[in-house]
Amino acid sequence: MKIQEKLREIARKLLAGGEAGVVIGYAAGSEVSRVVPAFISREEDVDRLVWNPLCINNLVKYLLDYRHEPGKVAVVVKGCDSRAIVRLLQDNQISREQVIILGISCPGLINPDLVAARLDPEAQIKAVTTSEQDFSLQTEREIFTFTRDEALLEKCRYCEHHTPVISDFIIGEEIPPTTPLDPFTAVKALEELPVEARSAYWDKQFSRCLRCYACRNVCPACTCRECIFDQAEPCWVTKANNLSENMAFHLIRAFHVAGRCVDCGECDRVCPVNIPLSLLNRKILKDVKELFNVPTPGTSLEELPALGIFTNSDPDEFM
């Protein structure tokens, strides 16, 4: 809970001094296993801010809503989220002067389903401790311990940057990069399959896409003023839900975020029908890394998106 207290202290100062007009962070949700994005603009509301291993949402995209507002916006980011800040800065969607980055050194998060299964939905998390082996959540009455093995969120098993890559404040002790699991294991397994099997695999996945566009709306790399999937004239992709239109949607989006996807995992998280979007985006990420020898997009401000620049050494065998 030290992080939470520190976070509130900084937020309070920023708001009191008028340095930030709003602090975007997390507050307790409608049940113990959920948090909600919170927009705190008054000092007296600062104590609504929480930090616990259920703070999954990437809040960075909300910065776009404040683009034309006066004043600065402070935003809470974890390591993975921080790459999205770099994304928005490189895409000129936000200006560095306008944002105050409250970076949290994140030891990893818990799968909320496990919390929901064990804790009373009305319970409140009073304290949290994390160690190398486990997470302990203390509620009013009890302490619940989850081993990292069972409970660590899938994306955190592949975490590259526990400590944000860009920030104005670092809250919590810096966690140096560890050697995570190979993020491309699943991609490689799929690559091994014959082309027909791969095609059948994706056909099955895309067939059930509802085209709710949650994956696009949550994505920090999707910032077009008018998305082509929303255009009525010309209508590139119709509203009809069938494999062909769904496939068009997914392939177009995958290519639009190619080399720009920061691997934050949000699209995968929000999909209501569990389409493995990480797998799709990581395949492209893997190719981009191999072809251009670049780090994960968003890792540093200086490293421009591989497909956004041209150098003479770029592979060009397709030309």
């Binding site: 409608s30 909600v36 929901a116 509802l210 998280r269």
Partner: protein
């Protein structure tokens, strides 16, 4: 109302037969944690170990994409061709909240202005309900006037009982189905089915983790259209279509033509979502719901007020799907509770 009993083995055999004689739509485990209603070829494909399907089964009465007719303007003439009428279908395994969802759609499409597409499917589809055996974390059907063993609206209601299944025919159509396949059933001489269902209902009543009370909420909304509260909710809303697309009662659609060669094509209607920014955009570009605030407000007013204004029915059946799936925890149970609190202090 007549009741019948069947063994577990007979359920499988009966469903295999139904799949042969009808288009049988039933819950299928599509992926880990994804249950969808889909056409099946037999019992082996069906998964009964679920409470709520991931997406509501409404799409089998009101499809996400419904082809309305084909057209051709070749040779300077307009020719319209009807699409093939759907085969008679049976939806098996509808949970009580989803049956109620269909009853909520009925007055919209089958009321004063009957919609032939909806009507056609509705009349050609037999609804076989299935009582819940456990209550999920987000279920709140009892708060919305339903219940996990309340199968009203189905043609047949199935309840798991000791050593098999109980069936109750709730309509003449349900009764006919029993008659047609009578070899699979034995009449329930001792009211075992009703007793088992009532007992199950009592057991499940204690499993709800949260109830909501809508008393006074509609009346408050009648008087209060502008509320700062909607800004607060809208601020975090992603404006995606998850809630509206998985909901058993949402029913907005858009109509458009698809004619790749410009001469021949198909006119379809497709689900649309009031949460999308383009939903209310007019031809000239004006948008009467310019921000997410108006859109979010519309969704909840539709559920809690407009549907009641128009049809005297709640627009939400308490299935809990949107609660489970909203990525930013916009929880209708919380919204009802918040509105009630505001109402009490107003």
């Amino acid at each position: 109302m007549k009741a019948y009993i069947m063994t577990g083995d007979n359920l499988g055999a009966w469903l295999d037969t139904l799949a042969r004689d009808f288009t049988l739509i039933a819950p299928v485990k599509e992926e880990e944690n994804v249950i969808l209603f889909k056409p099946v070829k037999g019992f082996a494909e069906i998964n009964l170990n679920y409470t709520n399907s991931t997406v509501s089964p409404k799409g089998w009465i009101f499809p996400q994409t419904e082809e309305m007719f084909y057209f051709s303007t070749a040779g300077g003439q307009i020719n319209l061709t009807d699409v093939q009428a759907p085969r008679p279908a049976i939806i098996f395994g509808l949970r009580p909240c989803d049956i109620k969802g269909i009853l909520t759609l009925d007055p919209v499409f089958n009321g004063a202005y009957p919609d032939p597409y909806y009507q056609n499917r509705r009349e050609n589809t037999i609804l076989v309900g299935l009582c819940c055996t456990r209550v999920e974390r987000h279920c709140f059907c009892t708060s919305m006037g339903g219940g996990p063993t309340d199968g009203r609206g189905a043609d047949l209601l199935v309840t798991e009982i000791d050593g098999g299944y109980g069936l109750e025919a709730l309509t003449s159509r349900g009764e006919e189905l029993i008659h047609r396949y009578q070899g699979y059933f034995t009449p329930d001489q001792h009211s075992r089915v009703i007793l088992a269902r009532e007992e199950l209902g009592q057991k499940l009543a204690g499993q709800f983790t949260r109830t909501v009370d809508t008393t006074g909420v509609k009346e408050f909304l009648d008087q209060n259209f502008e509320l700062p509260y909607w800004d607060e909710i809208a601020r975090r809303c992603l404006g995606c279509g998850i809630c509206t697309y998985i909901c058993p009662t949402c029913h907005c659609f858009d109509i458009f033509d698809f004619a790749p060669d410009g001469e021949r094509g198909v006119r379809s209607r497709c689900w649309d979502s009031c949460m999308f920014s383009h939903f209310t955009r007019m031809a000239g570009g004006h948008n009467p719901r310019p921000t997410q605030k108006e859109r979010v407000r519309n969704r909840f007013l539709h559920k809690l007020k407009y549907h009641r204004d128009r049809y005297d029915l709640d627009g939400c059946v308490g299935c809990g799907r949107c609660v489970t799936k909203c990525p930013v925890n916009i929880d209708i149970r919380q919204i009802i509770a918040d509105l009630q609190e505001v109402a009490q202090h107003a």
